[in-house]
């Protein structure tokens, strides 16, 4: 089992990049510990800005820095960053088109036992409704590394979310094509399609292996970029396979499932199952316990798939 959390990978890539790129500024909202940013702050104190517990301010300041030539990474718990500062994200980052990278850490139900205040399962719905904002949720540590590298090259505002704990690897190395806005096909199949993002990608892949034993060939798409959405991949899945199952660490409303349904319903209607967190304050527990409770497991996907096709 992998022991490196994605938030740690972000720190590592930024430390590496900041050695040559002096325009990188990392901002934290009393979150340097929880964001594992200690090494960055210690190595490059001049490129690290603490704003205190002030999420509106972290986005505004980041936008001001970015408008002055900096690449500003604002790293803060996803639950606060995506909600408390949503207007600053809308206006100062997206509308003003500043090069701000909003990194929501400990996203989804990472803080499972802390209750709804600390869950961020509405963020995809909110962020993807904002024009000019790229939205990304990487699947594992390798993809997190590739994502940060891509964000450093991509000019413009981005919201990216990672979880708190190390996640099981989806990839075995960095040796694959990662492009923002382009889904990765992890498993070929034409019976049904499972579309996942973030920590649910590994679950989707495991489900495909279970389904294989039942003689069902499931296509698995890693939809790491929620916006811009890879519509081509979705349309192809809707056309070529009999059903689509989406699975995400997010509310069943407005997230990956909603995004996929918008594409299929208007182009290639197909039966779908949207798997996610029910519309309620999520039950407290570890991430795994919460996932299992809502059926976000390989077995859960398998059952859903067999029912649909």
């Amino acid at each position: 089992m992998n022991k490196i959390a994605n938030r740690e990978v972000i720190n590592n890539v930024l430390v590496r990049a900041a050695a040559t790129n002096k325009d990188i500024i990392v901002l934290a909202s009393d979150s340097r510990g929880s964001a594992k940013l200690g090494p960055f702050a210690d190595t490059y104190p001049d490129q690290f800005v603490e704003v205190g517990i002030a999420e509106q301010n972290i986005v505004g300041v980041a936008a001001g820095l970015a408008a002055s030539g900096k690449v500003a990474f604002a790293v803060s718990p996803a639950c606060f960053l995506s909600m408390r500062s949503v207007e600053q994200i809308k206006v100062d980052a997206a509308y003003s088109n500043t090069n701000v990278k909003l990194i929501g850490i400990s996203g989804g139900v990472s803080y499972g036992a802390l209750g709804m205040s600390h869950h961020s399962v509405q963020d995809i719905a909110v962020m993807r409704a904002i024009p000019n904002l790229t939205v990304v949720i990487p699947a594992d540590r390798f993809e997190t590394e590739k994502m940060v590298e891509a964000l450093l090259l991509e000019k413009g505002p981005v919201y990216a979310r990672v979880g708190r704990n190390p996640v099981e690897d989806v990839y075995d190395s960095l040796d694959y094509e990662f492009e923002l806005g382009k889904a990765v096909t992890l498993h070929e199949g034409n019976d049904c399609t499972i579309i996942a993002c973030g920590e649910t990608v590994r679950i989707a892949l495991d489900a495909a292996l279970l389904l294989e034993k039942e003689g069902v060939q499931a296509r698995v798409l890693n939809m790491h970029t929620l916006k811009p959405l890879d519509q081509q991949a979705i349309k192809a899945a809707a056309k070529e396979t009999k059903a689509i199952i989406t699975i995400e660490e997010h509310s069943i409303y407005g997230g990956l499932g909603g995004a996929v349904a918008e594409v299929t319903a208007q182009n290639n209607p197909v039966v779908m199952k949207v798997m996610g967190i029910a519309d309620e304050p999520a039950i407290p527990g570890t991430s795994r316990e919460v996932f299992d409770y809502y059926g976000l497991s390989a077995e859960g996907i398998k059952a859903a798939a067999l029912k649909l096709i």
Partner: protein, 277 residues
């Protein structure tokens, strides 16, 4: 420009504002007129900006946090040549770039604003960037007094003082009125100066419709080492037009033809001719 020339310029900008609002049949008349002297002082007497090089690296930055007072800004940008004067006719019209708030698709506008309470944080980020780059430019941010009820203003206030952003100048257009009435009735701010001082800012209070006082307050020599500066600019909402002055109803109101003629007359336009002043 000397003080007299700045005063003449401010009157010209006020006429342009009335024309703009009268033509478009929309606008935040009161706040536009109260903040005209502040913006005129900045653009013609203080800031290092160049309409030919709107993105030059060391330009001074201006953020209009009270974005609804955009009319003086559009008129100034047109007068200085950042945009063509003709474009003013498109103000608030379908598909225009010159909307009712700053729009950074227009040369000379740094950031989009409109939601109150954002500008100070953004300006602090710019001032911090200047510190990091050891650049000499200054960042100016103009806020409204009604805007001071936004909590995010005070997040920015803490930040700028903590990082000793003495290259940051914030101005509050203290016209003491907001859309619902007196600021002190809607949400009291006093003792206002004490609040900013307690937050660690160097605070000065000036007559915000007095060009000489404004230019003095903006002077680099008056910077306090290690402290961001807050200028409380006591202004008259609707300044320059008698029937608009101090009337909350004119926060967002368009003059009738008679009112338009009266306003232009008060602002020095000679009727029937091109001449004025």
């Amino acid at each position: 420009m000397d003080i007299k020339q700045l005063e003449v310029k401010a009157r010209k900008i006020r006429r342009d504002i009335i024309q703009l609002i009268y033509d478009a049949k929309t606008g935040h008349t009161g706040g536009a007129l109260s903040s005209t002297d502040i913006m005129t002082a900045l653009y013609y007497g203080v800031m290092n900006v160049d309409p030919q090089k709107p993105e030059m690296k060391n330009r001074d930055r201006f953020i209009l946090s009270k974005g609804h007072s955009v009319e003086p800004l559009w008129c100034i940008l047109a007068d200085q040549g950042f945009i063509k004067s003709d474009e003013l006719k498109t103000f608030s019209q379908f598909g225009t770039r010159l909307i009712g708030h700053p729009n950074n698709k227009v040369a000379g506008i740094e950031m989009n604003t409109g939601s109150l309470g954002h500008g100070l944080s953004v300006a602090s980020g710019m001032a911090l960037a200047a510190k990091k780059d050891q650049a000499s430019y200054r960042t100016f941010v103009l806020m409204g007094d009604g805007e001071q009820a936004e909590g995010s203003v005070w997040e920015g206030a803490l930040f700028a003082a903590h990082y000793k952003l003495d290259n940051l100048v914030a101005i509050v257009d203290r016209n003491k009125l907001q859309i619902s009435g007196l600021t002190e009735d809607v949400m009291g701010l006093e003792p206002f100066l004490d609040k900013w001082q307690a937050f660690g800012w160097a605070v000065v209070e000036v007559d915000g419709n007095n060009m000489e006082a404004l230019i003095k307050a903006f002077a680099k020599e008056h910077k306090v080492e290690g402290k961001p500066k807050l200028i409380i600019a006591n202004t008259t909402k609707g300044k320059g037009v008698s029937f608009i002055e101090n009337q909350p109803a004119w926060h967002h109101k368009v003059p009738t033809e008679d009112q338009y003629n009266q306003a232009m007359k008060e602002l020095g336009l000679v009727k029937g001719g091109k001449g004025h002043e």
